[in-house]
């Protein structure tokens, strides 16, 4: 690890105070002469991901009772007590942020919408389901996603492609993959260069497909001259996407990835989404989540992408269990608070299940050896929800967590109390850890220039 140059240091030194959201090209010293693969095979990429669960938690039961390293696990975070095969507990790799607020400054609290909008953009939600700007994963993908086959991968275990919090801009959403079978075909289908497949022979069609794309790019200037500024922005997005596919073909032409843990994933088999009755019960959702997470881990091991978004349940969570004639979201509003317990027992079972799924996800990343440690050490996964206490759609104390060490840039395993600080402090920290040249983030009361320095290395 000591050989790696700390890229964040370089970037921050080079462009201190640079404009927010400016994508910087990967520095040449990190790339081989084709500009497509990391030089000196074996250098391990650092990845960024988000992991989302819907309908929050019960704040007093979720927040760990103690602060700092080795924090004591709360009743709703018992899932993090799992022991990892690589050593230690999940808790030791997961930092918990409690009491960080989504500030509203008098703006409407769109139920299930305002939390993610502000947490992921630093801006107030302009309308329900609308973000003020590109989301944090896209800002990071523009920085680190350009050198891989896929700039980013979006996945949702909910069965709904529209469940996504990834935004290219206010109205342009990155749709989620929902089918393990389709994800497998997309990543590990015929175009995948399997390092175990013997001599690499490029498919002649890849070059021909590139010529198709260059013809499309030739349409650009004429079309641009015929449209207004609204459409120029949309066409810019379109042509950015064309360039990303050119990049993908470049990566394919450069041959199989040179990473020791890389191998083709197992085919997940036929889709369980295709049944006559869609299953939202926890067992089925967990099964889809694990299948998608497995494929994602293989994709990361082969450096097919460095940015991902995983959704376990949506904001208006449709999770259910057999015999229950309602859903997690409905229960959070409908179920009475048990007088003795002091919380909603039925709704709360889904909070516990969501934290178990989160632990599953972290455990999978920790199961792949990389360098001196595991893949988890080279990831930063930003877990977040849409609400804190879902019954009144509360966004104060929005729960977030960070798993992994981001290649040594993050000190893992702490509990940090926000004491009503804006939640954007966590988002700012995430961006700085991922090397974005950004000193301040957010608007009005959401604005901050104060990262959570305790966890930054």
């Amino acid at each position: 690890m000591s050989k790696r140059i700390n890229r964040r240091t370089i970037l921050r030194g080079a462009v201190a105070g640079g404009a927010v959201g400016m994508g910087l090209p990967l520095l040449d010293c990190f790339l081989n002469e084709n500009g497509t693969a990391l030089a000196q095979g074996g250098a391990i990429p650092v990845r960024f991901g988000t992991w989302f669960w819907g309908c929050g938690m019960n704040p007093a039961r979720w927040a760990p009772p103690t602060e700092g390293l080795g924090y004591e696990l709360s009743v709703e975070l018992q899932a993090l007590d799992r022991t990892l095969s690589s050593g230690g507990k999940v808790r030791d790799h997961v930092s918990v942020f409690s009491g960080f607020d989504v500030k509203l400054d008098g703006n409407p609290n769109f139920p299930h919408g305002s939390g993610p909008a502000s947490n992921l953009t630093g801006l107030f939600a302009p309308a329900d389901g609308v973000f003020g700007a590109a989301s944090i994963d896209v800002l990071i993908a523009r920085e680190i996603g350009g050198a891989t086959r896929f700039r980013s991968l979006q996945m949702s275990a909910t069965g709904n492609r529209n469940h996504t919090y990834s935004r290219e801009s206010a109205t342009i959403r990155n749709a989620s993959e929902i089918s393990p079978m389709e994800v497998y075909a997309r990543i590990f289908g015929p175009d995948f260069a399997d390092p175990a497949a013997g001599e690499f022979v490029p498919n002649p069609r890849w070059t021909l497909r590139q010529s198709v794309l260059s013809a499309v790019k030739d349409d650009r200037d004429k079309l641009m001259s015929r449209v207004g500024t609204h459409d120029k922005q949309r066409l810019d997005q379109y042509f950015t996407s064309v360039r990303q596919l050119e990049q993908m073909l470049d990566v394919l032409l450069s041959g199989p990835p040179d990473l020791p843990s890389c191998r083709r994933a197992d085919d997940p088999g036929p889709d369980i989404l295709e049944g006559e009755v869609f299953q939202n019960d926890l067992d089925s959702v967990n099964q889809r989540h694990r299948a998608l997470a497995d494929l994602l881990v293989f994709a990361l091991a082969c450096d097919q992408t460095r940015v991902f978004n995983m959704i376990f349940s949506s904001g208006i969570s449709e999770l259910t269990v057999p015999g229950l004639n309602t859903t997690h979201h409905q229960l959070t509003h409908d179920e009475s608070i048990d007088a003795e317990l002091g919380y909603q027992p039925q709704a709360t079972q889904f909070v516990l299940a969501s934290m178990e799924a989160w632990a599953d996800f972290v455990e999978r990343l920790a199961s792949v050896p990389e360098g001196d440690g595991t893949m988890l050490d080279n990831c930063l996964v930003f877990a977040n929800s849409d609400l804190s206490y879902a019954k009144p759609d509360d966004v104060r104390g929005l729960p977030t967590m960070i798993a992994g060490s981001a290649g040594g840039r993050i000190a893992p395993g702490m509990h940090i109390r926000g004491n009503t600080d804006p939640v954007t402090r966590v988002g700012l920290t995430v961006q700085q850890a991922m090397g974005l040249p950004i000193d301040a983030w957010g608007e009005n009361s959401l604005q901050t220039s104060l990262p959570v320095s305790e966890i930054l290395v």
Partner: protein, 551 residues
Amino acid sequence: MKHYKPGSSIAALLAVVVVAAGACGGSDSSGGAPVTEGGPVALRRLTSQQYAQSVHDVLGERIVVPSRIEPDARIEGLLGVGASFVSVTPSGFEKYEAAAIAIAQQALSAELRGANVSCEPASPSGSDDGCATEFIATTGRRLFRRALTEDEIAMRVAIAASSATELGDFYAGLELALASLLVSPNFLFRVEEIEADPADGSRNRLTSTSVATRLSYLVWNSTPDDELLDAAESGDLLNTDTLAAQAARLLDSPKAEAGIRAFFSDLLTFRRIDEGLVRKSPTQFPAFTLTLAGDAKEQTLRTIVDHLVTQELDLRELYTTRSTFLTPSLGSVYAVPFGGGAWGPYEFAEDGPRAGLLSHVSLMSITAHPGRSSATLRGKFVREVLLCQDIPDPPANVDFSIVADTSGELRTARERLGEHVTNDACAGCHTLMDPIGLAFENFDAIGAYRTQENGADIDASGNLDGQSYNDAIGMGQALRDHESLGPCMTRNLYRYAVGRNPVPGEQVLLTFLDERFADSGYRWGSLIDALVLSDGFLTASGQREAEEAVQ
């Protein structure tokens, strides 16, 4: 409906000024329509249905079009409006490219190439620029909805030639040229272009090819055919008589059914059924399978097409008609004897509990929760979608627990929802929604009939803006008679046709269109005719400008 109103305030302001001027200018030759100016134009990305329909029309019905391309976005309640705001994301473009290659391979397969390529190459194993040019120019014109420029053709002939040489196969080379048409922004986006109106240089009108495209996607939900493109390219289409004749020709075509289905599917959010997103608790409603949901959608669309197109009846009576179409599995949810085969016509009984679209399984399921009916969602649907009335967002920090706790003393939805109207924070909006929705409480979460909830009799009576009713049938009659029903349908069709909400200056035009609609006895064809001949369809204030920068 959410209040997301991007767009140019300058354009809106201009439109107001123009209307003020136009109001004195009297009317033009197209049947007394007021002189107005349409709002701004924008690129409109093909919806997934339009993409598939266009490919089928140009390259053949037998082509299997990949279904999961970039998803459409619903903005202001319509995918047709969202199409003016979406772009193409990296993963979306990847899917478009994969789809283009899959489509091109099928279209130029040994089986289908005869229908799609009218010329014979000099050799099947090499390039032939002449034949490639003919194919690209002919097919490209249908896909781009205009003639290709020489450069656009030459570039693709070069791709076809180099690919044919590389792969040793003329048709394989042509596949890549066809793929380059299918991934082009000129195919994926409908480009609406404007030009100065030669009769009045201060006004902008849509170009004739842009009008052809608007017309074709409105009426057919697909790309223009050669005859319409011929009329557009000669400029003739901008003559009122020619436009009226072409509109009539398109409406008379069998392809018009796809157009009316597309509009109502969009308005009634049937895409949610297509995507398997209307879900019910499988233990509670085992009958509600994906197939049944699809049948329910089909029932409603068949009813609409039969009523509006085949029978040419009054649109308002869609909410009172007892005529419909059923399958045996739908018949069992409706608990009516239906012994037909797959699909057959059916009359709900005169003394039965059902009449109108709002008693259909489709709409009752869409506007309910997975395990329970929702008077609030149903009322919201009627207010927003059918009457075009805005419902404000719910306030934060509300204790919902009393509303849905069915275990206590409050047994029916009416009793539980009583809390909404006795609580000031809730009453403002819920008095707009709940009373309407309670009219449908005799229909459960999948639209099956019931007279009791938790052992208590259901009271479905109420009052819609002054007209009282006792049940869903009376509610349907009140809706049919509501003064906003016709104008709201006009407004929704207009938004769908032009891909945006009306700008303030267009209200006078909407009023005129609604009068024409009413004068015709609310006949669908009359509304379409009046709309496509109107200034709103044919003119524009300019190109849509970007929203104010978000900091």
